[in-house]
Amino acid sequence: MNVQVIDTVIADEVSDEIAEENVKPFFDSKTIPGNPAIWVGIFSELTEFALFFVIYFLARAHYPAEFEEGPLHLHTLAGTLNTLVLISSSYFLVKGIFSLRNDRPNIAVRWLSLTLFCGACYFAIKLWEYQWNTAAGIDINTNKFFAVYYYTTFNHLLHVGWGSLGIIWSISQIKSGNFTADNHSGLIAAACYWHMIDLAWIVIFPLLYVIQ
């Protein structure tokens, strides 16, 4: 083949590549962790939590006395333990991703199992807290603060359940060899969803348990 023809073809390809690099798309799928669909889900969930936060703010403004008293009647230790458990779960999850990237799937499964264990601990602590509330005569109808508290925390509890299902699915995919060091975008998607749950609690905990 003529060398000049090869040169022309290569020059065209190089110029096409340069042109592609210069045109930046609105959303570059390569820079979206996991996949675009999970981010639609994450932002939908965050919008839902935003509504709960707005309801909290409006209720607090209208019933300041109830919201100043409310945190004093809650089980602060249970709330703190749940925060520590969720932060640890996120940490174990990232360690699992690091292990998989380093081509150590068995270690990754162990880290992810710890994340799942933290999810179970969260459920157990929340159940203990609700039972403690009931014993103390607190329920959803006690006042506006506890109505907001129960709706927000129970909604969050449900999300921990969805997130746990995502982690179980990721573990099964690693075990079956579908997620590897080179290909694990599904795990990243599940991890981003789990971190979103952790982030939502980072706001919920101070609003309900700390700020008086």
Partner: protein
């Protein structure tokens, strides 16, 4: 004269092969770079745990004041930034996602502070009947 004996053809061919291999290298699937260490995650986890315990200590002991509320709201922002930047690794992700996530965790702590400071003004603002 053979191909190797002609210096101009040889130089052109080498140049083309280099370009071709450069293109093939960019199109070929890249192996992920091995992660050096996850030690920074251990430190981050410790920081997040300490910040949570500070929050709990404030809840148990501190009297409500503007400064205390400001510290609590600042801790929310700090914890959220650490999770977003390092656990979610959004720093290198799409700027739309990164900035939107960050904005969310700035807006709500600021709103919490605003509602703590000006509850009466908020009630006036959202009243349907003046």
């Amino acid at each position: 004269m053979t191909h190797s004996e002609n210096p101009s053809i040889s130089i052109d061919s080498n140049h083309s092969i280099n370009k071709l291999s450069a293109i093939l290298e960019t199109e070929a699937p890249r192996e992920p770079k091995p992660q050096k260490s996850s030690r920074h995650l251990d430190i981050l986890w410790l920081c997040l745990m300490i910040l949570t315990i500070i929050n709990a200590a404030i809840a148990e002991q501190a009297e409500p004041s503007f400064l205390v509320t400001l510290i609590i709201c600042s801790i929310i922002v700090l914890k959220a930034r650490l999770v977003i930047d390092y656990f979610m690794e959004l720093k290198g992700a799409s700027p739309y996602i990164y900035h939107l996530m960050n904005a969310y965790f700035y807006v709500f702590p600021v709103l919490a502070l605003f509602v703590w400071l000006y509850p009466e003004q908020l009630v006036e603002l959202i009243q349907l009947v003046p």
